[in-house]
Subunit: 210 residues, 2 copies
DNA sequence: GGACGTTAACCGTCCGGTCGGTACATGAAC
DNA sequence: GTTCATGTACCGACCGGACGGTTAACGTCC
């Protein structure tokens, strides 16, 4: 069976299963104690089987990092599309919504980022590239002030980081407040200039997850 | 020579030297490849010498995590004092300035956080406690809206994280813009309500127009 | 002499990676 | 339609090096 639904609902390919298992293991034992055996076990393959798909531990981490940026990018792109169809799309709002989605659909993915960072700082280049791209996109959107937009982007990063490391201390209500505030700032940033917007309602735009 | 100037200018105590060395090593090879030998070498002690001060690798990480929160707390406290002496102090502004200081005086410290996370997720409890304390403090400052303050706090975290991982892509000018914006938001948050301020300026009173 | 700080040699385990296999599928060749 | 060849996916025993931790032995200052 060829890779059916790479990174979709239920994992089918062994490759995918392994990647997801690796993320789980990182969360459990810490990136430093991640062993191929543990990953193999969690993915229900033998170590040999794992090594067949990822010839070295390093290559496993490369795949993990790539998976991370791919997922972020896909989520942001999807959010952008959704917003564009809905009403005035805005790069920043798409970022916020996209990252929130990204987090929702794969709580462990950011752990992959940490695993990568912990194992080989050089691998972070992939992620750095992703950030650079997003920063540029935001900077090019002349309809809002650079600094304001970046503050929102940074806050999202901070939130993701805390939640990935499980060191966030927000209650659900607090988190909702913060996210709403983020969206409000993004909205302001979008509408504050370039009166191109559709006027009419400010759109409630609820996004909170359970 | 007893611990002379714990965490001050030049390191004198072996303990301190080792901790700093550990941070450097993490930055270079990644937390997962941090070995006692490497740390010992970087700290110019033998492995035995290192183990004398930190009986196990785990204990080294505990110290690293503790050092991280201690440093953050001290920097924030110092900033708070500075602000209080200056004019109307504000919890949030102190946080921003404190974290910025923290970063300046020990670029590698946050690497310790990662090392900790990578080696034993449970150790993160220390950091989580620190965050909880700061969040509470900010929440109790009724002079500003919770969400707005938290956005700033999160943005700072995001910035610290990126810079620690060296994945920040800001130019110096951009960074300056962002930091200034952060301070501006903090200022607004401080001055927006609770007319407790020292009178003088009639207060811009341009709170969030939302 | 004994507390303190430090050293180097050593040991045992753990883990990444290798390697020789197995099982199954495809598909010519006869 | 059975035989053999080739390729893919996977297994698990094994090896060798690396690394955490132990230990016995120093100096050296009081």
């Amino acid at each position: 069976m060829k890779p059916m639904t790479e990174l979709s609902g239920t994992p089918t390919s062994a490759r995918d299963r392994i990647l997801q298992a690796a993320e789980r293991v990182v969360m459990q034992v810490g990136a430093a104690h991640l062993t191929l055996e543990a990953v193999a076990h969690a993915a229900q393959v033998s170590k040999g089987g794992l090594l067949y798909h990822f010839p070295s531990k390093e290559l496993l981490f490369v795949a993990l990092a790539q998976r991370y940026v791919d997922n972020v990018e896909r989520c942001v792109a999807a959010a952008k599309e959704r917003l564009a169809a809905d009403d005035a799309g805005c790069e920043l709002k798409a970022c916020v919504l996209g990252m929130l989605d990204h987090k929702r659909c794969s709580r462990e993915l950011a752990a992959a980022l940490l695993a990568t960072a912990a194992n080989d700082p050089a691998l972070l280049q992939v992620i750095r590239d992703g950030i650079a791209r997003r920063t540029d996109e935001l900077a090019q959107d002349r309809t809002m002030r650079f600094a304001r937009a970046q503050v929102v982007a940074l806050a999202i990063d901070g939130l993701m980081m805390r939640e990935s490391l499980r060191i966030s201390t927000f209650t659900d209500a607090q988190r909702e407040l913060v996210v709403a505030e983020l969206m409000r700032i993004a909205d302001e940033a979008c509408e504050s200039s370039a009166g191109r917007r559709k006027a009419s309602r400010p759109a409630p735009q609820r996004i909170d997850r359970a």
